[in-house]
């Protein structure tokens, strides 16, 4: 039993080191781990997500996507603890886990929106590293 706990702790520590960001909870950890698998599959040299890079990516003005959506902040605003707004006027729940606890707990939902929104903003899919960086940052907020 003691042994099992030690192993669990070691795994937890390793996961925390791997993601490089304070995590919000087991739901978010599982999502980030799933994205780490994608990043490793895409690049064997992948060594972990970078929350600071994710933050910069979230706020950056990108090119290649829709004229009205050059940035994540076009809809999510530059305050991730407040509601955003879709182009059709509907409220979007805040992105920060500290105010929206169910964020990044449903892999299919995260995959759907990353898939859509990267194409809306950048005109292409995000790499697994880019997406994982952003999710890591948002999950730590």
């Amino acid at each position: 039993m003691k042994h099992a706990r030690a192993i669990a702790m070691a795994i937890g520590l390793a996961a925390a080191a791997f993601t490089g960001a304070a995590s919000a909870g087991p739901g978010q950890d599982a999502i980030i781990a799933a994205w780490a698998d994608k990043a490793k599959a895409a690049d064997p040299a992948f060594s972990g997500f970078d929350a600071a890079a994710g933050k910069a990516f979230f706020f950056a003005k990108h090119t290649g996507g829709g004229a009205e959506t050059p940035s994540c902040t076009s809809c999510h605003t530059d305050n991730i603890k407040k509601s955003g707004q879709t182009r059709a006027g509907k409220a979007i729940d805040p992105m920060a886990v500290s105010v929206q606890a169910d964020r990044y707990t449903d892999l299919a939902k995260v995959e759907k929106w990353i898939g859509r929104n990267c194409n809306s903003v950048l005109g292409r899919d995000c790499t697994a590293k880019e997406a994982g960086d952003v999710i890591s940052w948002l999950a730590s907020q």
Partner: protein, 145 residues
């Protein structure tokens, strides 16, 4: 003759007049997916051919990528088509393609003409934002104007 006309008019109005219940979106997946970005518009507001066109073009949904897995697209399309409004040969654009925007349909333009100020439209942001003025739009209520 007058009575006949009245009867015909009554018949026509009962046949056409839709209640809020008629406009309710009852399919859970359709509600959940469409309403993530805007209200789930009542299926009867577009003819079947137009819904087919909307659902065939989700990768560029008014400038937004709204792609969905094939099974979900098929499910939602089938619901919208089964509950669509009646066919309307005028619901096409200048090139003869099915109109994708409900707000470009003649009756929509007519209904809103002179009733929505520029300031109101600016506040709503877009014609797509029904609830800006129709508070019960998500329950199919649009008669509050």
């Amino acid at each position: 003759m007058k009575r006949l006309l009245l009867a015909a008019a009554l018949l026509a109005s009962t046949a056409v007049a839709a209640t809020a219940a008629d406009r309710m979106v009852t399919d859970e997946m359709t509600k959940a997916e469409c309403a993530a970005c805007h209200i789930a518009y009542p299926p009867r507001l577009l003819p079947a051919a137009n819904w087919e066109a909307v659902m065939a073009g989700l990768q560029d949904h008014f400038g937004e990528v709204a792609s969905l897995d094939d099974a979900s697209v098929a499910h939602i399309r089938d619901y919208l088509v089964a509950n669509a409004g009646k066919d309307d040969p005028t619901a096409v654009d200048a090139e003869g393609k099915p109109l994708l925007r409900i707000s470009e349909r003649r009756w929509f333009v007519g209904e809103h003409k002179g009733e929505v100020s520029e300031a109101s439209l600016k506040k709503a942001g877009t014609w797509a934002n029904c609830v800006a003025c129709h508070k019960g739009a998500e329950k199919g209520q649009f008669d509050d104007d």
